[in-house]
Amino acid sequence: MISNLTQAQEQQEFVVDADKRRLFDFQEIWHYKELFYFFTWRDIKIKYKQTALGFLWAILQPLLMMVIFTFFFGRALNVPSQNLPYPVFVFSGLLLWNTFSTGLTNSANSMINNAQIIKKIYFPRLVIPVSSILVAVFDFMMAFVLFIPILIFYQQPVAFSALWSWPLAILVTLTATLGPGTLLAALNVKYRDFRYVIPFLVQVLFFLTPVIYPVSMLKYPVLQYVIVLSPMYAAIELFRYPLTGAELNSTFILLSLASSVIILFAGLLYFKRTEDFFADFA
């Protein structure tokens, strides 16, 4: 028994050295994989505890927003919608947008909300913002259940051969969320000013992302280039692709992807650089 124990010890040697800082240790993150599950699971449980409607809220929110936007933008203002019924157009956009905005807000506040844990227990800190984004993915799945009947109700044809773009769109959404999410999470620990910046930022991005209007509506090409720099542009466009059947503008998509990848790297690097000191600041 004891000899087994000592053998195991000889095998795994762990070194903390003040002079050597590592970048992401993926092996370690993998070792803690269950924590991603547990954090996500806890947050979902807490979110819907003591609510009478429970998970229904994840469906009701986008549904009500769809109704409101359809009424004002679709009917009253006649905003074009890439030949889709406006409710389908706006719901498909809101599905991903809500994932992004909830995920971003959650993860930006996640480090502060879990400060008590950070101060007392070690684990790779990346678990926290990532799990808080996964909570938003759970809401996405709930709302997606409603998306199917909406498609049927409006008799919306779907190009099945193009359905590959749905999982891709979700992946792009996650990338687009994780970058600013980790960046803001780390900044928020250090400067609480960001607590006030986040809702404002989400609001601004909402109007700068073609969720409730198509890019083609913008008359000036320069403005279009600005809009497609929004990390969520590519995700939403990819998601609508099997519905509209319209040709994807590859320049726009690539620009948007490049923007989210750059933010992702910036976010992860900054997070990693400040991660060690979260316990001292939080």
């Binding site: 000592t6 903390v16 002079d19 227990i121 609480r192």
Partner: protein
Amino acid sequence: MKPILEVHHLAKKYKIKHLSGGYLSLRERMLTAFKPGNGKAEDFWAVNDVSFEVQAGESIAIIGHNGAGKSTLLKILSKITPPTKGKIITRGRMASLLEVGTGFHPELTGRENIFFNGSLLGMKRKEIEAKFDEIIDFAGVEKFLDTPLKHYSSGMQLRLAFSVAAFLEPEILVIDEVLAVGDAEFQKKCLGKMEDVSKSGRTILFVSHDLAAVEKLCPKTILLKDGKIHMADDTGKVINHYLHTKLKASVSRELTTGLRLIEFHLGSDRIVSNATIPFDIVLEHDGDRPVINEFCIIIYTLRGFRVAILDLRNYANQFEYIENRVRITGSIVKLNLVEGEYTASLHYGINFTVGEASDLASISVSDDCNTSVRKYQPQYRGVMELDFKVN
């Protein structure tokens, strides 16, 4: 065989900002960027050049006064905060328990909290499932498993929290003062559990103010002082030294104009219940011999409850008056205090000034272990155990 834990020249620096609150505000940061020198911070080495080794199966205690750097050292060892300098090598799975019940959420049920907390502490889901019954059995909360934690009493919450931690099976267990809470019965259970852990050949790193627990669990002790290792030796020796320095701490203070208390000793190295405790008090005065009307040593519990008095008023003529000093010596014949921590103060009325000099000495009383009956926990015995006879 290589040691299970090696710590080399560990140091941690904090910057103390005198103006700012807990966290930085962007405005502050921008202001200081334009006004160099204005936001200058003072360096503070919470841990300074600490090195030690722990062999597998060895349990070590870390003691020291508040602010000696114990908590910072544990935080570095637990990887919660990185060292500024130095290196740590661990060979084996390490778990640290700086707090019980970390991550407990009032809205989650007992069962849910066990899983979340266990996972935070580094247990795999399968491990938690396998030990689940034992955990709830140890905590004694099986009836409330599916009740949200917010409906638990604080004692129940604590029992649940400790139970999860008790079933961790790391090779190195780092424990901060977590036993200082909870009811006596449960504390005993926890100590027993920790003894099992250390006897099963695992390593415990234990920080505590409870010197009795330290003596029971750890054969070796490190005494920290000002962030440095002051002494590292067998627990008995270190504790003796620690208590001694504690009593010798400078007490010099002015009682009234022209009169200073310069020495206050109560007890020797270790104080045991029912022992005879010598005391030695020296005053220094300018000018005339002082008129002492009141003079009492008062003993308090750490919570400030007044426990006992040594009324020396009537013995003022037996004090030694030599040149500009007054010396009072004697002994408490039998200190029948139950084991625990106490402090001593001096109440005085000298030259028409009445006052009290508090916290002059801390008295750490240990059990004398000389009854055949197993004693109740100190909490149940109160502060004083009376002598009696049955006719």
